[in-house]
Structure formats: C-alpha cells, structure tokens
C-alpha cells in the first residue's frame, strides 16, 4: 500500500529522472520500509519522504535536461522557441481527460460570465448590495456624484451604483425596464422596495423626481424649527464659500440668505421640503444661477457615500449588454429615413462598439431621427461620441456639467461616416433628461438638428452634491464651462423644441418634416 503510494509520488519527478532512478528510489523506499518498523519510525520515514519530495522535485525541474542549453544557444534572436519538458507524448487517456477538463472549464466560465446573476454566490452578493442600496439610496447617488466630480470626463447617469438605486424607484416602473437603461428588478432578488424620497440625483440620467418627491414627502415631513433652519442656512453658506466656482456670487447669495433670516422671512416655514424650495429660489435669484439647488431628504443622508463595488460594475455592464446598450430600436424607415431610439447615453467604456455599430447601420440613410423621448441621460462622453457623427469637423459642445477642455469638441469627422450633412431630427418629451438635454440643447443651438416634441425636463442636477446635515443637501456648480450661445442652458427650464407637438405625435411629425425636406412629398 505505502509502496504504491510512494510510486505515485515518484510520478511527480521528470520522466528522465524516473527512467534513470525511479526503480532505485523505489528500492530504497522498500529497504527503509523494511528496516524502519514501528509507528515513530514510519512517521519519520514519511516525513523524510515528504520533505525530500518538496525539496527535490522543484530542483529536478529547475536543473533540467542539458538539451535546453543546446536549444537556447541555437535560438535566433527574436524568434520564439518552445522548450519541451517531457520528451514522451502523454498517454491518450491523459490527453482525453485534459481536453475534457479544459472544455468543461471553458463552458463553465462562459456560462458564469454571461449570466452572473444566476450564479449563486454572485446572487448573494448582488442582493446584498441591493439591499444596502435600498437602505442608503442617497448615499449611492452621492457616491456617483463624488466619483463624477473626480473624473469629470466620464460622468454617467447609468453609473453602476445607480443600478440598484434606479431599480428601487417607483418612477421607473412606468418607464419600463427597457427604457431605463437598467434591468427591471428581479423579483427573486428582493421584494419591491419602498420608494426613497430623495429628490436629488446629481447629474444623473434619471427622471426629474422633484415633483414626485413632493408627493412622497408630504404628510411625512417632520418639519423644521428655527434652530434647524439656522443650521441649514449656515451650512449652505459654508458650502457655497468653499465650493462655489463664483466666489463673488457665493458672497452675494450668503448675504441674501442671512438678510432673509434676520428679517424673519423663514419663520413661517415649517416643512423641510418647502424650506428647501424657498432656499433654492432665493439662491437662484441672488446668484443669478439656475444650477444652484437645495434639496430636502426625509431619509437621513449618510455621512459618507458608499463607493461602488466590483459587483456594481459587473451588474451595470451586464444590464447594459442585456439591453443592447439602450439602443431600443435602430432601423431604416421608408424613404430611407434612419430611425434610432436611444433610451440613455450609456458609458462608452461599455457601449462604444455597440454605438458605433448601430450608427454604421444608419450610415446610408438620407435623414436621421434620434428618438430621445424616453432618454434618461447618461454619460457626456457618449453624447460626444454620438454627436461626432453629425459633423464633418470638430464642433464645440457646451455642457454645464463639465469644464471646457479639448474633450468639449466632437471627434469629427468619423471615418467612413456619411451622416454629417444629412438632415437630423430629435424627438423630445417632458421626460427627456440630463445628457439627452445636453445633446438636444447643443444640436438646437448649433442648428444641426430640428427638435420635435415637448420641452425637456430641465434637469437641475448639474452641480456637485454636498451634504448640509441629516436631511438637507445642496447642488453647487464647481465648473465654469464656456457657453458660446446667447440663450442660457436647459437647467431648470428645459430645451424648447423647434416644432412643438405632443410627445406622442413627435414621431409622425418628424417623419413628415423629413419627407418634405427630402422632397418625397
């Protein structure tokens, strides 16, 4: 028995060693086994053998065969060479089981990677982080905001960390899973969570919740007293002085707020939500800046934002891939009009190739319609990528969310692209949001596209979120981009369409306009 075991161990040695000394080694083992009987002797024998194996097996492979030297000496400079460790070919059985094992592991991994949510341990992780996100929905969004702040080139509405947060929002339900850019909550993971009543999603590609939040918060608002009002005002002022990109305006806004407080203008305000709205209005008035906003959250705002995890990233990527990167429809309509329904501007790090593929499909169209009526925004980088197809030279795209850098110019012309001079139409609705407004605003201002539909939502989330206290936070612009256009941007007011029709009629209208333009009617 033990001899058999040792002969198995001997297989660990290189075949040359085995051929030369295998039999002798076994013989030596037999001799020792015969001479060393008794429990302790046997134990010592095996300890010796194991230590010997551990020392000598690696050494045997390390000091291996002399023909290596020949090979390396003859090897040509820069020409790859193979070293053969075993001279004999493996047994057919070994080849077969090795092949089978390789195949099995490749299949296992590809299945696992393509369906991470079905993989049990992963599912546990996923539901765990989802429940965490439900507990701290605002933290998730703040995390997104903070990260965006440090890496402004790729702020994204469809950030990984938004996935759980978005899933837990009631407003998503009516928008449908396909349009939100994230998968619908899988009921196996967890029951539908309660709505988090936090109105601010900084720079997020989600519907403007301000109106919804009012409804959610009312009746449950515990109210604010004079002490809290004072604290919030002081906190807001401190944040403005610290972060606001225009120090003179910060001063002006601070003075205005203090004056109002002294005059007792806030004394009657007991609802947190109302107080936030009043402050927002006054700050916007005194600072002449629509990007300032104060928000009230009934759920306490956590001190530190949760940073997104690897699982978040994987889930985000997976969600986007499942939804074709939110390209809901891409087709050529009669009269060779290209139609593209895009429900978000997903992060190009995941979706660039998909976006390029879809744009290529429309390359031969005579006109192009971008349907952004259900677009919830996303990454400015994707806005730039899509916009590049509509110009034959680099064009400046203004965004209030980012400083002006070389990335503010489209990377036009796109090689092989034929759409740069084709008529373009954008369909908008009242829920066209954030990055989609960025796209619409610039296309309108550059007179590159005709906007058809409704005034867009006027996403207010262009600043960076700062916590004031447990229930109040504020958005403060920290960038000073150059707006070359005479009209102020869409923040808080939305993008006005060129042709104002109901969202439901926008498609038909745009088709008619395109047909007239193309002389088909």
């Amino acid at each position: 028995m033990s001899e058999k075991l040792y002969s198995w161990f001997l297989r660990l040695y290189p075949s040359r060693f085995r051929e030369e000394y295998g039999e002798e080694a076994l013989q030596l083992f037999r001799d020792r086994a015969r001479d060393e009987k008794g429990f302790f002797e046997r134990l010592r024998l095996w300890l010796d053998l194991v230590a010997d194996l551990a020392m000598s097996v690696p050494r045997e492979y390390y000091h291996f065969q002399p023909e290596f030297f020949g090979v390396s000496a003859e090897r040509l400079e820069g020409v790859p060479a193979f070293f053969v460790l075993e001279s004999g070919s493996p047994r057919p059985g070994a080849l077969f089981s090795g092949g089978l094992l390789t195949l099995a592991s490749v299949i296992t991994f590809s299945v696992w990677l393509s369906q991470p949510a079905r993989y049990k341990p992963f599912r546990a992780l996923a539901s765990q982080s989802q429940s965490r996100a439900r507990e701290h929905p605002t933290a998730v969004r703040r995390a997104a905001s903070h990260r965006t702040d440090s890496a402004r080139e790729t702020p994204s509405a469809l950030r990984p960390s938004d996935v759980p947060a978005t899933n837990s929002k009631p407003t998503e339900a009516k928008a449908g899973d396909a349009s939100s850019g994230v998968p619908r909550q899988d009921s196996r993971f967890s029951p539908p969570p309660p709505p988090p009543p936090h109105p601010l999603q900084p720079q997020a590609g989600q519907p403007d919740e301000a109106a919804d939040t009012t409804v959610l918060v009312e009746g449950e608002d515990p109210g604010v007293n004079a002490a809290e009002r004072h604290r919030v005002i002081n906190g807001a002022i401190a944040n403005l002085k610290l972060y606001y990109v225009y120090p003179d305006r910060a001063q002006k806004v601070s003075e205005a707020l203090q004056a109002h407080e002294r005059n007792g203008d806030y004394d009657g305000v007991t609802s947190g939500k109302t107080f936030a709205d009043v402050l927002t209005k006054e700050m916007r008035g005194a600072g002449q800046d629509m990007h300032l906003v104060v928000v009230y959250s009934e759920t306490p705002l956590p001190e530190r934002p949760r940073s997104s995890t690897v699982e978040d990233l994987v889930r985000y990527r997976d969600a986007l891939e499942q939804q074709n990167c939110t390209f809901e429809k891409v087709e050529i309509l009669p009269h060779n009009i290209g139609y593209l329904k895009l429900n978000a501007f997903p992060d190009p790090s995941v979706c660039e190739s998909r976006a390029r593929k879809e744009m290529k499909r429309l390359n031969d169209a005579d006109a192009i319609i971008f349907d952004l009526r259900e677009n919830r925004g996303g990454s400015p980088a994707m806005v730039m990528l899509m916009a590049a197809y509509l110009f034959d030279h680099p064009e400046y795209m203004y965004s209030p969310r980012e400083n002006t850098t070389e990335r503010s110019w489209t990377r036009s012309p796109v090689p092989g692209n034929k759409l740069a001079d084709k008529p373009a139409y954008l369909l908008t609705s009242a829920s066209t949001f954030s990055a989609a407004e960025h796209f619409s605003y610039d296309m309108k201002m550059l007179k590159r596209a005709t906007i058809v539909g409704e005034t867009t939502s006027g996403a207010p989330h262009s600043g960076v979120f700062h916590r004031i206290d447990e229930h109040f936070g504020m958005g403060i612009p920290e960038t000073k981009p150059i707006n070359p256009f005479s009209k102020s941007d869409w923040v808080a007011v939305g993008v006005e369409p060129d042709v104002k029709v109901k969202a439901a009629e926008a498609f038909e209208t745009a088709i008619k306009l395109a047909e007239i333009k193309l002389g088909k009617k």
Binding site: E20, Y21, Q27, F29, D48, L49, D52, S56, E60, P66
Partner: protein, 116 residues
Amino acid sequence: MPKRKLSPLPSAAFQILLALVDEDLHGYGIMRQVVDQTEGRMRLGPGTLYSSIQTLLEGQLIEQVDARADSKLGQERRRYYRLTSAGRKLVRSEAERLADLLRVARAKKVLRGAHV
C-alpha cells in the same frame, strides 16, 4: 536553465563522497552510511540522494560499477557506486577547507576543545 553546481560542494554531495571513501556502496548503503557518519542528522531521501548521485556522476566524481545483489538485503540486483580519483581528491580538498575553517573558528574561540 542552470546546470547543477558542485562548487561550492553541497553538503549532501560531500556526505555521499565521504560515504564512498571506504567502500563501494549502493544507494541504500550510501544513505545508511550518511546516517551513521552524521549521527542521524542527515537522512537522505531518494530524490535528494539520486539527484546528488546524478550530479556527481556527471562531474565524474563517482562512477557506477557493475550491478550486483547485496546478500544482506536479498536477491535484488543493485547498482553500486565508487569514488573516482577526482572524487577522492575533491573530498580531501573539501575536508581540508573545512579543517581550515575549523582552525579559524578555534582561534576565535568559537569552539571549545583542543583536537582538530
């Protein structure tokens, strides 16, 4: 890929050479002899033993002699190994080197006792 070296002489190789000074031995005999001469401190395992033997053979410090059975251990034929003159020379020079070392150690009073 480095060839195994005999300089400095590994202690296992030295012990094997030393074991073969008096008589030709087979593998197990070498192992037993090494155990005896080190008072049980070094028990060469098969891997270490035969890889050292291989190295010593390559270095022509030992040579194989005709296989024969060891009457004490049964009928199995065993390969015996014998010290070559180069091997003998090397054992001596290595022992002298160690003796020099020992002298130094004594001079520095690292070791007690008078004999060398």
